[in-house]
């Protein structure tokens, strides 16, 4: 896959050549100024070399015009780089709505991957060609960073929250995955490969993988095992909010804030339930810190995301009956 002495990385994602283009633009501007200034310095040093021991330079103090020119031109170029870089960054940061999802958990010192279909892998990641892949990233211990140079993307895995990254692979092949955030002894061993496959090969690979149920099925099983269901009932009689349709909705908290329910809010509500209580409920939910692993958490969230509000149900998350005791 790699030549023995490459000087430039392979470009194997939809964003890679755009990143390279910005790189070459800044490289061209930088080279121009580096050559201009160092050339001038060397030229002046030779041309105006001291010829007599008592010689002094000419009486020149400065020039407002020149100061303006060499402030404004670099400023304008820097702003071009800023806007270009920002536009690219926002594209890298925002996954397309139709992305397929993969869960990745960093752990000293390995990458644990689960596909929604239930197939799991360690340090490898199989993805289909040409489809946007959204990775939901968690960490079980310290900071890690999921980095795929050939795709020009990386993202920190931060303990205590979920982060996301995405890419669309554009070339079949095997590409390196590195942990890019220092994480202790085997940091440099926390590496792996992304394997980009033709869609039909990918489907065959998925079908051939051993699974213990899809992520959603596992999440549903956990939802029952952990007795979430006793409080978070499907109707409004539970002590906790109804979870059907809660994902993506806006809820009002006890302190008056309104927030959108996303993966991080669900994660926080399971691991640190007292942090943000929905208005109308009591802070009675226990923490599942230590009980639920990051992988289980991703399964639970995958399950909760599938719970759709029935057409006639009241707005999700709103307290069903004010007098009812409830948790979150």
């Amino acid at each position: 896959m790699q030549s023995s002495f490459p000087l430039f990385p392979e470009a194997a994602s939809s964003i890679a050549s755009d990143v390279d283009l910005l790189y070459f633009f800044i490289l061209a501007v930088s080279s121009f100024f580096a050559i201009l200034v160092s050339g001038a310095v060397v030229y002046f040093a030779i041309k105006y070399r001291r010829r007599h021991p008592d010689e002094v330079g000419q009486d020149i103090h400065g020039s407002i015009a020149l100061e303006l020119i060499w402030s404004v031109i670099p400023f304008v170029l820097a702003m071009v780089m800023f806007f270009w870089g920002a536009e690219l960054y926002f594209r890298i940061a925002r996954p397309p709505a139709d992305s397929m999802e993969v869960f990745v958990v960093g752990k000293q010192w390995m990458w644990k991957v689960q596909h929604p279909e239930g197939v799991r892998e360690i340090n490898e990641l199989h993805v289909p060609l040409g489809r946007p892949v959204r990775i939901t990233l968690g960490s079980e211990d310290v900071l890690h960073d999921y980095y795929i140079p050939a795709f020009r993307v990386k993202m920190d895995a931060v303990p205590g929250k979920l982060t996301t990254m995405w890419f669309t692979a554009t070339k079949v092949g095997t590409y390196r995955i590195f942990c890019a955030e220092y994480c202790g002894t085997q940091h440099s061993g926390m590496i792996g490969n992304v394997i980009v496959m033709e869609p039909q090969d990918y489907e065959a690979w998925l079908a051939g993988g051993r699974t213990t149920g899809t992520a959603v099925e596992n999440g549903e099983r956990l939802f029952t095992q952990l007795a979430c269901i006793t409080c978070h009932k499907t109707d409004s009689s539970g002590r906790g909010p109804v979870l059907a349709g809660v994902f993506g909705s806006t809820v009002q908290l006890m302190d008056g804030r309104k927030i959108v329910v996303d993966e991080n809010y669900l994660r926080e509500s399971i691991m640190n339930p007292q942090a943000k209580i929905v208005l109308g409920y009591q802070p009675i939910m226990p923490t599942f810190q230590g009980t639920v692993s990051e992988e289980n958490l991703l399964q639970l969230i995958a399950y909760i995301k599938t719970l759709k509000a029935p057409a006639a149900a009241p707005a999700a998350g709103a307290p069903a009956a004010a007098g009812q005791p409830g948790g979150k």
């Binding site: 002495f5 990385p9 755009d18 990143v19 800044i26 490289l27 930088s30 100024f33 580096a34 200034v37 160092s38 001038a40 310095v41 060397v42 002046f44 040093a45 105006y48 001291r50 021991p53 002094v56 330079g57 000419q58 020149i60 103090h61 400065g62 060499w70 402030s71 670099p74 820097a78 780089m81 800023f82 870089g85 920002a86 690219l88 960054y89 926002f90 594209r91 940061a93 310290v142 900071l143 960073d145 020009r152 993307v153 990386k154 993202m155 920190d156 931060v158 303990p159 205590g160 929250k161 390196r176 590195f178 890019a180 220092y182 202790g184 002894t185 085997q186 440099s188 810190q289 230590g290």
Partner: protein
Amino acid sequence: MTHAGNHSGSYLDAPHGIASWLLTRDHKRIAILYLISITIFFMIGGLFAAGIRAELLTPAGDLFTADLYNKVFTLHGVVMIFFFLIPSIPATLGNFLVPIMCGAKDLAFPRINLLSWYLYLIGAMLTLGAVFMGGVDTGWTFYTPYSSMASNTNVTLAALGVFIAGFSSILTGFNFIVTVHRMRAPGLTWFRMPLFLWAMYATSLVMILGTPVVAITILLVGAERALGFAIFDPRVGGDPVLFQHLFWFYSHPAVYIMILPGMGVISELVAAVSRKQIFGYSFVAYSSLAIAIIGFLVWGHHMFVSSQSIYAGLVFSIITMIVAVPSAVKTFNWAATMYKGSITWESPTYWVIGFMGLFLVGGLTGLFLGAMGLDVHLHDTYFVVAHFHYIMVGGGVMGFLGGIHFWWPKMTGRTYPETAGKIAAILVFVGFNLTFFPQFVVGYLGMPRRYHAYPEEFQILNVMSTGGATVLGVGYLLIVTYLVASLFKPRNASANPWGATGLEWDIPSPPITLNFETEPIVTEDAYNYVGRAQKAREN
């Protein structure tokens, strides 16, 4: 005190004895104490660097264990940044020159100045103690939760050393600011000050405003390790990313503590080697302040992939691009100063040209990292390693060595062999580029930082780096050798060997203890080479 020009009255000679040095309040002697200490730490840090480069000669992690390698790169960073680079120019050349350039007898608070050296030493000893007790492996950045929860090395002790050394930095900055405000000689208005003073003033602002924040941050990590405070630990509601905000709030400005003094030195040297008024004096002066102030608002550019809000990232990115402008302005002005100058080819010129070449590359590669979409790829790769070495070593250390070569005759009364000085500058320049330029390439290829072992396709570039580091090491050893050797020769330096302007060149080499026989009165702008030459002709 004895007469000017009579070397027996120099600050080096009287009073005699070890105690007279260890209890001295003379800013020049304290500068020498600092110079000796930071040179020792530079060598220790250099040994760790040699270890890193030796390990990375081959892809397999075969020289050290992974744990040992992690300690080696951590200690390289900790020692070089906190115990060499941050004190380097301010505590040595700054201590020596700030009072003299102000036309004063000493700094405003001589005892506090001595205290700062002792605090530095205590901090350095504690950190060295952590080394001897088995080292520390968090990286110089001490990122949580690894540092607060996971690492079982001597984090607390090493961090305590950094915490205490921080106070020496605060005290030095405070001393400089008061001295510049209150102790300038009659006639030395702000805009007659040498640009080195402007740079020291701007650096001091960063030292006193930024250092307390890192002190608090380190204290919080210690509290979390020792007492279980939940500041950064996500399991109990803490936030590991908060640490990064606090850490970089200081540590990005700290880069300016390392580079602004180098810029100040180069401003002096460019004018002196060109015998010419600096081009755009006020622009160079104000750009130091602009860098110091704007530099406080860019810390989040270290965190574009940390899960920081992407909108916060926008603000940090645009301010990062803006802070590039005053650096560009300085560089253009230095180059323009040489236009129609009278440029000597003595050794300081080699350092000036070397600084400009390396600082240009360092500054320009910062643009790649400030552009967010590109930083996603480059973050935490060797591209970043190469970039900050071009700034800190290419800018900071080249400035420091340039300054040492320029003011060595003034500080010690001795000259060093010119040819050796030129050869060393060339060795350092070539060795440095050979070490770090390939790292830009290997970084864009995707090689991450802090890797004990790496895939084989990165080897050739790493071999080049190690080869370059060897040349660089020879260059540094050569400098230490001829400078130390010069101390064993009789004093032979004249008061003004370079024919430079500035109050320090109007007094003997080495200066007398109280610097000036009578308080100087300043009647001209800095770098008035043309005016002085005219006057000389008229007489």
